[in-house]
């Protein structure tokens, strides 16, 4: 920090920070440290520790397989085993819902920091998403074990998976930023979010394949941004067994980007008043 000179700062009401994004880059170490902190404290003082990250997805997967495949008799995608298809959908969903709910509460949870220290506030919600990413990696390891068990080998399509992970990140970041900044002002959103995510689990193709949805509703269904992400994950993981609905994916991407712009806009507009309102 010493020796590096900074340009003169001007502080006034409504002043638009020219160097905002560069500032964000300069604070990357704080981002790393906050993300590391969230990961480090995640499973502190628990008995089985990281095993929780394994247990939750496995149990959910088992329950969904029993309900949707055995009881409701829904078809899988192509020749893919049903548990694999569920797991491939749960990966992005769990990531999305953890990231979104953590991000939504992140600003209120860091009230102490916000009131006492300056840094680009965008760091807080984005850093929480890293925790969800760690859980995603653990779930992915489970998926790999399952694929080996079913002797189901991935195709070249799996190379595109990082792209869809990034899409899932953007999908959760947009609404996350929007909700967390509104949450600072109107605490109502704290109660809305868990409820919305609970509904989201049923309207998103997590326990079933989106091919179950009638063709004429397919486009409308894609307005749910998670649909595109989940379909993308399945396409990457299940390979030829899965057929992707490209128009729907396009719609999802557009929805995701608009939410992202909305979220960033809202966040930036409110950012300077956070310390006064929180």
């Amino acid at each position: 920090m010493e020796g590096r000179s900074v340009p003169m700062q001007i502080i006034e009401s409504g002043h638009v920070e020219k160097n905002y994004w560069r500032d964000l880059w300069r604070y990357r170490e704080l981002f790393e440290v906050l993300a590391w902190r969230d990961v480090a404290v995640r499973y502190k003082q628990t008995i089985i520790g990281v095993a929780w990250a394994l247990l939750r997805p496995v149990l959910t997967m088992a329950v969904f397989t029993v309900i949707f495949s055995r009881l409701a008799k829904l078809p899988s995608e192509g020749n893919a085993p049903y548990p694999l298809m569920v797991m491939a959908g749960m990966l992005p969903w769990t990531f999305f819902s953890t990231a979104l709910s953590d991000a939504s509460n992140s600003l209120i949870g860091s009230a102490g920091l916000i009131g006492k220290i300056y840094f680009p506030r965008l760091i807080i919600p984005t850093a929480t998403i890293v925790v969800a990413f760690v859980d995603l990696l653990i779930s992915f390891a489970i998926l790999c074990v399952m694929m080996a068990w079913y002797k189901f080998w991935p195709t070249w399509q799996i190379l595109f998976l990082p792209l869809f992970v990034f899409l899932a990140f953007l999908a959760s970041l947009g609404p996350g930023l929007w909700v967390t900044s509104l949450n600072v002002k109107y605490r109502d959103f704290r109660y809305v979010m868990p409820f919305a995510l609970q509904l989201g689990l049923y309207v998103s193709p997590v326990g079933f394949s989106s091919s179950v949805v009638p063709a004429k509703w397919r486009l409308l269904y894609s307005f749910n941004p998670v649909v595109g992400v989940i379909d993308g994950f399945r396409w990457c993981i299940l390979g030829r067994a899965s057929r992707i609905y490209w128009t729907g994916l396009g719609v999802s991407v557009v929805v995701i980007v608009s939410f992202l712009l909305l979220g960033i806009g809202q966040f930036r507009r409110m950012e300077k008043t956070f310390a006064d309102l929180i």
């Binding site: 920090m1 009401s13 920091l113 009131g115 006492k116 220290i117 008043t273």
Partner: protein, 425 residues
Amino acid sequence: MANTDVVIRVENISKRYLVGHVSTRLDGHDTLRDAVVRHAKSFARKALDVARGRQIVDGDTVEEFWALRDLSFEIKRGEVLGIVGSNGAGKSTLLKLLSRITEPTNGRIEIDGRVASLLEVGTGFHPELSGRENIFLNGAILGMTRSEIRAQYDEIVDFAGVERFLDTPVKRYSSGMQVRLAFAVAAHLKPEILLVDEVLAVGDGEFQKKCLGKMGDVARSGRTVLLVSHNLGSLRSLCSHGILLSEGRLIAAGSISSVLMAYSAKNEPSNKVYPSDSLVRRVAAYQDTDKIILEMEYSNVRGKLTIPGFSFIIHEADGRPILGHNPMLERRNLDVPWPNEGVVRASVTSPKLLDGVYTVSVFLGDPYSTVFRDLNCLTISISGLVNSLYQLPPEQVGPVYPECQYEFLPLDLKAEVVDIAISES
């Protein structure tokens, strides 16, 4: 900036907050209808605020509150500026504006240099993480890079004195240890401009001394420092310049001694008034040119008192007693006549209080019991005395100035005194 020496220029800044009030009926009776009407009103106002995109304020009437009003000043490179003012004068708000935590309502601030702010000791400490981990976390939050922290890690640990507990979660630390660790990290912060808010008042006496020493090093190293403190003694020894705020406005600016003088002058001889039907009606304490005066106005119309035995204790700002006196323990004044309603005045002719802020506890009673006590109810603040006496500051010689006579004695006389002392023992 025209003058490159000015690192912070503040121009006409103001900061407004909205505060809500809940109107309650004085008799304490709130009927269901009142409650419904009140909540409906409050809901309607909130809905309107949301529609206009404004902040929600609880309560049914909203008032504007100006924490700072039209403040302008400049700070030059290397200045150590003390900010003084009573509670609610806007000192902390000013630091928050300068550190970009919140935005001014009007006005403009120009800052040339990297700012680090230390508004609270241990910001962002995570209770579940170990001491070692918290050093890195807290350092990063205060704006240090990882390599900077690593370079000074041993020094930080040494300063805090927590070597043995580095792998223990901070939640198991005593509060004193937490504060020491937090301050140790903060003390190794090396920005061009440092903003510090009332963090020196932590830890035990020895640690405070260490902190003051560290702050002195920072101040002497040519950095620009802004310091908010109620500890006038440490402000005097650390700062070169000062500004005085009162109700959000700038009252005085200049050298630290002139500002502290203005601050003390603003504080009237401290006095406290009690309800008119009570035994004690008023107490006051102040230091005159040659003595400390303590007064208590009493009323014995109910005949409760056998004697208005007034006693007192004067404490340092941190609560440690300096001096006190209870005439009743010595059975003094027992046969002096006293009026049924009147004032009892104690004059302390020696020692005098040196510069600083002191609190006073007062008591009333007879030789057998105390019928009235009010602890730390008055404040005496003294400034400028050290300079006018050409004496050492209280940090070095203690808070009081003794009345002293000096004589020159020939050697043989001294020997005689020693002889007597020996023969007596």
